[in-house]
């Protein structure tokens, strides 16, 4: 027997048992329940039929779902396109130190402390043409605005609400990234004669890569699962113009009690998020590093 063989102690498995149990109850079992529903047609507690991939096939052919998926993709994309640059701009404009910095940090973080349904309610009132500040102002300016009547207005209001609610998160992350850049970089850039834009392009942006990746992933996942705010504000309407994926799913599962298709759709929903996050993560790992091979780490 060679002396390089490590001692084997099978009792070490006991150490990971608590984690296995936790994960089993919090993630694996619920997920398997969903899988269970997705392959059966359940008529009552005693009567169930195994239907295989039938629900998946029917869900994938559902025109309404295609609509919701497209709306969802459009919404998440808009959220990223607006919130990420806006958050970076905010972070760059925030004072770096002193009491002003602390005061601004608190101010910026305020909207993050408000519960989702309250955010929806705030904007519901804010946008009303009779008593809401935004609605009444637009009305006075002669702009025909109604988030309950016009699909574009509703969609823009939901987007504005999300931007108002979540841009501060991006700003705080970007701010943290900016603060972690050592002073020597700025001094070196000054000595090298770099313009403000060059400092942003070659120092600040590359150094923020890590936090921006987190910001993009968080905002993507969150906006892709958005439910409460549009539910409170527009209820998915007018028509189904602001019915996003999770609301569509809720209508199916809770409203119509179609547990089979809803479960099948949940799994597809989950896989879509997983896939898109994977693609985004890998793209952001590689962008700007000039590394053309698949980049992990």
């Amino acid at each position: 027997m060679s002396t390089t063989v490590k001692p084997v102690n099978q009792r070490a498995w006991w150490l990971i048992l608590p984690v296995v149990i936790c994960v089993a109850f919090s993630a694996v079992l619920p997920l398997m329940t969903v899988v269970n529903y997705s392959v059966q047609d359940i008529f009552g507690p005693e009567r169930r039929v195994f239907v295989g991939t039938e629900w998946f096939a029917s869900v994938l052919r559902d025109e309404e779902l295609h609509g919701a998926l497209l709306r969802q993709l459009g919404f998440s994309l808009s959220v990223l396109v607006v919130e990420i640059p806006l958050g970076i701009a905010l972070a760059l404009a925030m004072p770096a130190q002193g009491w002003k910095s602390s005061a601004v940090l608190v101010l910026v973080a305020l909207s993050l402390l408000i519960p989702w349904n309250v955010v929806g309610t705030i904007w519901q009132i804010y946008g009303r043409a009779d008593i809401g500040l935004l609605g009444a102002t637009l009305d006075k300016l002669g702009i025909d605005y109604s988030y309950t009547g016009d699909a574009t207005d509703a969609w823009l209001t939901v987007l504005a609400m999300d931007v108002w609610h979540w841009t501060p998160l991006v700003a705080l992350l970007a701010f943290a990234g900016l603060r972690s850049i050592p002073d020597a970089y700025y001094q070196a850039a000054r000595i090298d004669g770099a313009s403000k834009f060059a400092v942003f392009r070659y120092i600040q942006l590359p150094k923020m890569r890590g936090v921006l990746m987190i910001a993009v992933l968080l905002r993507f996942m969150d906006s892709f699962m958005i439910y409460t705010e549009p539910f409170v504000l527009t209820g998915g309407g007018p028509g189904n113009s602001t019915t996003f994926l999770s609301q569509f799913l809720t209508q199916k599962a809770v409203g119509q009690f179609d547990l089979g298709p809803a479960a099948a759709f949940s799994l597809i929903y989950f896989l879509i998020i997983l896939l898109l996050c994977f693609v985004l993560y890998n793209w952001m790992q590689r962008v700007g590093t000039g590394n053309q091979e698949a980049g992990h780490g």
Partner: protein, 357 residues
Amino acid sequence: MARIDLDLAHSYLPDPKGEEDFALLPLKMSFEDGGAYALLGPSGCGKSTMLNVISGLLRPSQGQVRFDGQDVTALSPQQRNIAQVFQFPVIYDTMTVAQNLAFPLRNRKVPAERIKARVGQIAEMLELSGQLNQRAAGLAADAKQKISLGRGLVREDVAAVLFDEPLTVIDPHLKWQLRRKLKQIHHELKLTLVYVTHDQVEALTFADQVVVMTRGKAVQVGSAEELFERPTHTFVGNFIGSPGMNFLPGRCDGKQVEIDGGQLPLPAGHAVPVGEIKLGVRPEYVTLAEPQAGGALRCTVAQVQDVGTHLLLTAHAGAHPVKARLAPSTVLPSVGEPVWLQLMTDHTCFYKDEALV
């Protein structure tokens, strides 16, 4: 390239009162065009402050900075045309080595073919030619610091290149190489270089003129030899050399010095004021003497260390330690035994109120 004159003081406090409030006490100093200077001193002595004042990153609270006689106190580093290299390598992660080196030139709208030629030349000097098209982000610390150095040296028209302890993060064996490279580059490019360090070996090997600083004051400016042979202040004697100069307090009556009960006659040609003085002698110049020999002092052996190349003797004259560097073959009395040490040599210095007389 420029001659730099400083006549200033700096305090980080808005309303400085005593001496201790100043990071730089009022000083006057000149750096000649094309010279290699080192600012040497312990941490917190004000050497980095002085460097930042020269570069323009910091505006002195009083006085002026002049380049070639022109007042540049209010100008930015860019306007002063200064290059500076920092303690930790600063590189632009998303650029290649060549783009990093070209960055200061590109910002100044130098024509592309001139940039290419100059970057090639600097890369050649720093032995970076093989890595020009590589991403700077993936390189080792010493290669990154070479890029920082290169960005400092790439502009031909700079007034001066300033180094703020640039070799701190470099491995010892590479330090030697880089220091030699810097010296060689200084000869080739004839730039004014100012180099901040707390490592005396680095300062003495790199610079023609070393500025020794302590507590916001430049106590002596001189060549390595001057600092070693004639320290003008006890601080310099102590700081330069390993171990530092021996200092023994005594009384002088004009002809001889009384130290710890022993009467040592002054060597010829030394005019030493009457009264309390300090005798300073380098461990390198202390030798063994016959008992009762003129200029020798009776001490007690406290410790003998064999450092390989020489023996390091620590003896006590009363309460004061005397160190001596002796040839490895020297036979010494054992610990606790008396030993006579010759202190009065041509290299012996005398200090009154910590200043050379």
